[in-house]
């Protein structure tokens, strides 16, 4: 197996810059590996030929100042890529070829990276196991028939299998962090407003954020820097300076205080997760961090609130998929019939469920009891965090209440699937930055992650803390290529 594909993003960038190897060599190795790894089903659309062509012409001489020069890079199929099919994992966009590029991916190409392909995901980012994609399930490289998590399942899978040196996903309720935990990789959801949402297929507008998914914390810092930035085309984008997360990255975290929220110690929490959590605290103590107990009293209301707000916004965001302007269109005697058939055929079951929930909670007579109430609960959850951040610099929790599970295991029960997001969802509701760092294995030898939640726009602190953890945990990903 090529050694190049095992390298981190930072190592690849350094290698290309120092001319240890060329962009073309790197791209060739990744493409070859991708071609042999079709069983994982991480890709929906590949751009291999183009990538090889572009990488061949790539000259490092004029690209020394770029952050990702000549790096082949696959992205979640939720980012609109110009001239390349973008499906959002759905039949309804099965034939959609955008004539425009999302701001975040454009930022990546501006730094010299080359599109490798579009990665599989849960349909319209709705799911926690990548089992709702129209293009089939994605395998977790960690083991056969195991889910990679979702909705950025294809991203996590490709990353963990070394099919792409790094990638970006989107996180609405945990869709970056949960798959990161399930695959033993690093995933960060930036503060809401840190990255532009322009050109990303919208799921829940007040919750969606794009974010880096990488093998190491150092890579994560580099990629976050590349994709962040104010975008006047996105009215929810914040005009705040993008720090040099990469060069400011340090494991010197002595004196920082970490909060441990007691409400995250849920009923029936597996012992191993609790153990892992404690180990994380010990490691951080070792780095000079002060551990403090805190309370986030409204935590248990976060998931129900999320499953009102997210579907509500989604039901409205997905109304544009009507067969009129683009995408799939079904037959119909008249306009209404055309709409109903198009959307019935074009959307999968989970998407339909959420659209119906969303439509219902916004409907006449129910708005106050559901949507308005959920927005109030959101305020309370945010206040919980704000209050805690008066006395702590970051918060440490497990990323997920369990490790990966077998495909099909949770399919029949939507609610049990939703419970996967119990630790990640509060973060989206409050708009905070959070990162999942691979921290160990459970009894089944499946990876688990620890989550660090930071103050608004303080990605630096959680990156630094993550680095301190990473150095001490020394997590090894066992990738045995069973799928080739």
């Amino acid at each position: 197996m090529s050694e190049i594909i095992k390298l981190t993003l930072n190592e690849l960038v350094a290698g290309i810059k120092k001319k240890k190897f060329s962009s073309h060599e790197v791209t060739k190795d990744f493409v070859n590996r991708c071609i042999k790894s079709k069983k994982l089903n991480s890709f929906i659309t590949d751009n291999f030929d183009n990538a090889l062509k572009i990488s061949k012409k790539f000259e490092i001489k004029s690209n020394q100042n770029k952050q990702l020069p000549g790096i082949p890079f696959a992205v979640k199929d939720l980012f609109c890529t110009k001239g390349i099919k973008t499906t959002a994992g759905s039949k309804i966009l099965n034939n959609f070829i955008p004539t425009y590029e999302s701001t975040v991916t454009q930022n990546i190409w501006n730094e010299g990276a080359i599109l490798l392909g579009k990665l599989n995901c849960d349909e319209f980012a709705m799911g926690s196991s990548n089992e709702t994609s129209f293009f089939g399930n994605v395998e977790n490289p960690v083991g056969k028939k195991l889910v990679p998590g979702g909705s950025s399942g294809g991203s996590a899978s490709a990353l963990a299998a070394n099919l792409t040196p790094a990638t970006i996903g989107t996180d609405t309720g945990g869709s970056i962090r949960q798959p990161a935990s399930f695959t033993g990789t690093v995933g960060l959801k930036p503060t809401y407003g840190r990255c532009s949402r322009w050109g990303i297929v919208a799921f829940a507008s007040s919750l969606d954020q794009a974010g880096p998914m990488t093998k190491t914390v150092e890579d994560c810092a580099l990629l976050l820097q590349a994709i962040s930035g104010y975008d006047p085309n996105d009215s929810t984008s914040i005009d705040i300076r993008v720090d040099n997360f990469s060069s400011n990255l340090t494991e010197k975290v002595k004196g920082l205080t970490i909060g441990i929220p007691k409400e995250y110690r849920v009923e029936n929490m597996p012992v191993e997760i609790d153990k892992l959590w404690k180990k994380g605290m010990d490691f951080l103590k070792d780095a000079g961090v002060i551990i403090k107990d805190i309370s986030l009293p409204h935590t248990k209301y976060a998931l129900p609130a999320y499953y009102i707000v997210a579907p509500a916004e989604a039901s409205s965001n997905l109304a544009r998929y009507d067969g009129v302007k683009y995408g799939h269109r079904s037959e119909g005697k008249n306009l209404i019939e055309m709409y109903e058939n198009t959307r019935s055929e074009g959307f999968g079951d989970e998407v339909k469920r959420r659209i119906l929930i969303g439509t219902y909670v916004l409907s006449s007579g129910y708005y106050d009891a559901y949507y308005l109430k959920a927005q109030k609960v959101r305020q309370l959850i945010k206040q919980d965090f704000d209050n805690s951040f008066n006395s702590v610099d970051a918060i440490l929790t497990p990323s997920t209440p369990n490790s990966s599970f077998k495909m099909g295991e949770k399919k029949g029960d939507p609610v049990s699937m939703y419970l996967n997001d119990i630790f990640t969802v509060p973060v989206n509701l409050a708009g905070l930055p959070a990162i999942s760092v691979p921290s160990g294995y459970d009894k089944k030898k499946l990876p688990l992650g620890l989550q660090l939640i930071g103050k608004p726009f303080d990605e630096q602190t959680i990156l630094n803390l993550s680095l301190a953890l990473q150095k001490r945990i020394n997590f090894k990903r066992n990738v045995n290529n069973w799928w080739k």
Binding site: N95, I97, T99, G193, S206, P232, S235, T236, S237, I238, D239, H298, Y301, L303, P304, Y307, I308, S315, G323, V324, K325, Y326, G327, H328, R329, G332, K333, N334, L335, I336, E337, M338, E340, R343, S344, K352, R353, I355, L356, I357, T359, Y360, V361, S363, Y370, L372, K373, A374, Q375, K376, V377, R378, Q379, L380, K382, D413, P414, V415, G431, P456
Partner: protein, 95 residues
Amino acid sequence: MSIDQKTVKYISKLARISINEKKAKNLAKDLTNIFKFIEKLNKLDTKNIEPLTSIAETKLHLREDNIKDGNIRDQILKNSPEKNKEYFVVPKVIE
């Protein structure tokens, strides 16, 4: 709160998604379970709480009144399911 098939059919009409009897039945069951879960919120008293109106704490960005867009008809119509050089084409609407 229990969601019955009649309600499912009504919401589906609002959402312009056609469903058959079998699907309506299953959805009624699924939605009822989901709503049982969601209704945990009812235990919380939120009488005096303001709803979160925006997560991003910033002022609404105001754009200057200049024409910087449009005139890209080819692009706009490129992905259209019914090919037409000037318009989007849809089945007739009965008013």
